[in-house]
């Protein structure tokens, strides 16, 4: 028998898990929820999202957070020292913190996206959480954008190779020059997507009655609460 749940419960789960990323400030407290949600999210999300994009996102984050750690938090005891680079404790901690937070947020989001149908998600957000149509639609539109982002990314890599530029992001300027076309194209799509939605009556949507909570909802919410408890206990023990 298929476990039934409201799509909005999964949204609440993803939101609740993402909040952990903002509250938990130690590697220990983030470790378990990040690994759990990250793995589940990437496995389930890859069924609906292009896995190449997920890998690129992951690599972008790992490299970005490493550079961030190296530029802004490279202090404390020396962990690695070579002729080229000296990596200190602060950089490692910062790298792990940012990476785990990313893994947590993206993992929880992918988990949600992997398990819901987009129209049902819009309906459920409006019906169960009373979220305005425009916002509910924007959340659901991510489904459509992910594959397009993936396509854009592979075309950008082709153009970079033609221009003799590497696709490996070794410097922040490389990251910038990949994100620039990606964000510009996404912005243009978002504007036209908004026009398309407006002309197809998004503003006129009517909200139907609420659906009752089911066993699936209770399991999802319990999983959320348990992870919050684990985070609080770890934070408390670290004090």
């Amino acid at each position: 028998m298929r476990l039934k749940y409201r799509e909005s419960t999964l949204f609440l789960y993803a939101l609740g898990i993402s909040l952990i990323a903002f509250i938990a400030n130690s590697v220990e407290s983030l470790l378990l929820p990040s690994i759990l949600n990250g793995i589940l999210g990437f496995v389930l999300g890859s069924k609906k999202m292009p896995w190449k994009l997920l890998v690129v996102l992951l690599l972008l984050n790992v490299w970005g957070s490493f550079l961030n750690g190296l530029y802004f938090h490279n202090f404390g005891e020396v962990v690695v020292s070579t002729q080229v680079i000296v990596i200190k404790r602060g950089a490692i901690d910062s790298f792990l913190l940012v990476s785990l937070r990313f893994f947590l947020i993206v993992g929880a989001t992918l988990l949600m996206l992997g398990l819901v149908n987009v129209r049902d998600l819009i309906k459920s957000l409006e019906r169960d959480l009373r979220i305005p149509s425009g916002i509910a639609f924007s959340i659901a539109y991510a489904f459509r954008l992910f594959p397009l982002l993936s396509k854009d990314l592979s075309e950008i890599y082709i153009a970079r190779k033609e221009r003799g530029l590497t696709s490996v992001i070794l410097r922040p300027s490389n990251l910038r020059s990949i994100l620039l076309p990606l964000l510009n194209l996404s912005y243009e799509r978002a504007v036209w997507g908004g026009i398309s939605a407006e002309l197809r009556g998004l503003r006129l949507r009517k909200v139907s009655g609420k659906k009752p909570l089911r066993l699936g909802d209770l399991i999802i919410l319990t999983a959320l609460i348990l992870q919050w408890i684990i985070v609080f206990i770890t934070l408390f023990l670290n004090k």
Binding site: R119, E155, N184, S196, R200
Partner: protein, 478 residues
């Protein structure tokens, strides 16, 4: 009944994009709105639909009556009365599957679940998408996405259907479909409004032609005027693409140019998708120095794959690709020029190119006629024609022997098109060869030294003029 009476309209307060536009139409009529890029055609659609003021923060004075409802005064009426088909289906399609896409409009407009499903099913069958209703939209071909955008725009049976540049990037088979779709809508008694700079594709169906220039209506023609010889000549003189291939003066299309030695040989090429599904079989041809070779064929026939294989970006192939000269040899320019840009201004973009290829900045600036006006603009904010031009200059700067252009004319008006053709011709005279993938008969007519037709995975050489005639005949121009 449609009555458009726009005094003025704009995207920002104090900035007027449209002024004094007045026209109308009745049920079962096609109103064609023509004009060059930047003449205000798309802004007109956004104004009529009310989106300019209700969503984009713009303003509009005047009135637009659609079945006696003023879309400029009441936000909610437009989506019930109007169906809009955007130029690019990628931007219009919002949902992950065709079924979701059609149901989305119907649910928004309050149709019951049963009625919505029944209507969506009927439409998906009519547009040949029923068997793919649960597939992800990204698995659909370009033509199927176009059909989906048409289906979702009319799912709620709107009174007025507007199409924005429906032939852009479309193969002649797709254009024929849109013409049939338009014809059906007219026969069903709808009002259809099409904005298009290639008006030749719809002139025979139109009841009225409204011409725009710099945001103003400059002329209106209707009835028998539309097919009169004098009007066609007037439109041609005004640089409007109205001329079918068979009416282009012979001297222009019969010009033959000398080309150099063979620089690329393709022998027994086979290409396949990641899934192992074959795309191209036993393809063999060669390209000479300074030659312009044009590839034609339906959407999804493998033109882009062939270009990417030659450029080294499509790895699923066997056979031989032999380049006779050393150095940087081929350069692929995508259909979407935006992928090519890496910097935040045109000036920085050119500086980057200059530093990478060792060309003086001035040599690059010289190639860009709009440089002084646009040097501080983001490359992404240039017009489509300017973006295409800039991407071609970037490609040229890398000194390739062959430039591969994927649909370089999609979305360009005839003015910019002619400039682009002159530029490509001048580069080919310098010895650069071109392989151009296109659906556009104008490319065959004005640029092609030779042309290859790709169909059913096979490639055969065809005479450029004959194939241009064939493409227009498929599209239904004559």
């Amino acid at each position: 009944m449609l009555r458009v009476d726009i005094e003025a309209a704009g995207y920002r307060a104090g900035e007027t994009t449209l002024r004094k536009i007045k026209f109308g139409g009745g049920e079962g009529e096609l109103i064609l709105v023509g004009g060059a890029s930047g003449s205000g055609k798309t802004t007109l659609l956004l104004t009529i639909s009310g989106v300019l003021s209700s969503l984009l923060g713009g303003w509009a004075d005047g009135s637009v009556l659609v079945r006696d409802e003023d879309t400029l005064k009441t936000n909610s009426v437009a989506s019930r009365l109007i169906g809009l088909v955007l130029q690019d289906p990628e931007k219009q399609v919002l949902m992950p599957t065709p079924l979701d896409e059609v149901l989305f409009t119907l649910e928004n407009l309050g149709f019951s679940d049963e009625e919505a499903l029944a209507r969506a099913t009927e439409l998906l069958k009519r547009f040949g998408l029923f068997n793919k209703r649960l597939d992800h939209v990204e698995t659909l071909s370009g033509g199927e996405k176009r059909r989906l955008s048409l289906a979702s725009a009319i799912s709620h049976k709107p009174y007025l259907i507007m199409l924005d540049e429906p032939t852009a990037s479309m193969d002649p088979w797709g254009i024929r479909e849109v013409r049939k779709f338009t014809n059906d809508l007219i026969r069903e008694g709808n009002i259809v409004l099409i904005v298009e700079h290639k008006i030749k594709y719809f002139l025979d169906l139109a009841d009225k032609l409204v011409l725009l220039s710099s945001g103003e209506k400059i002329a209106e023609y209707s009835g028998s005027e539309l097919t009169s010889r004098s009007l066609l000549e007037k439109l041609r003189d005004a640089n409007i693409d109205v001329e079918p291939v068979h009416e282009v003066p012979r001297e222009e299309r019969d010009k033959k140019r000398g080309v150099g030695e063979v620089i690329l040989t393709i022998e027994g090429l086979e290409c396949w998708h990641n899934s192992g599904k074959p795309i191209l079989k036993n393809v063999s041809f060669d390209v000479r120095k300074g030659e312009v070779l044009v590839l034609v064929g339906p959407n999804g026939s493998g033109k882009t794959t062939l270009l990417k294989t030659i450029a080294g970006f499509h790895k699923g192939y066997s056979g031989e690709i032999k380049l006779r000269e050393s150095g940087k040899r081929v350069f692929y320019v995508s259909q979407t020029p935006d992928y090519m840009f890496l910097e935040s201004t045109v000036e920085k973009e050119l500086r980057l190119v200059s530093s990478r290829v060792g060309l003086p900045l001035e040599a690059l600036i010289e190639k860009i006629p709009f440089y002084s006006e646009k040097k501080n603009s983001s490359p992404y904010r240039l017009s489509l024609g300017q973006r295409r031009w800039l991407s071609l200059v970037v490609a040229w700067a890398y000194k390739p022997n062959i430039i591969l252009l994927d649909e370089p004319t999609a979305g360009l008006d005839i003015g910019f098109l002619n400039n682009l053709f002159s530029y490509i011709r001048s580069l080919s005279r310098e010895g650069i060869s071109f392989i151009i993938s296109t659906h556009d008969p104008r490319v065959l007519l004005s640029l092609a030294d030779r042309s290859l037709m790709i169909d059913g995975g096979r490639v055969r050489e065809v005479e450029p003029y004959k194939v241009a005639l064939m493409l227009e005949s498929i599209a239904g121009v004559y």
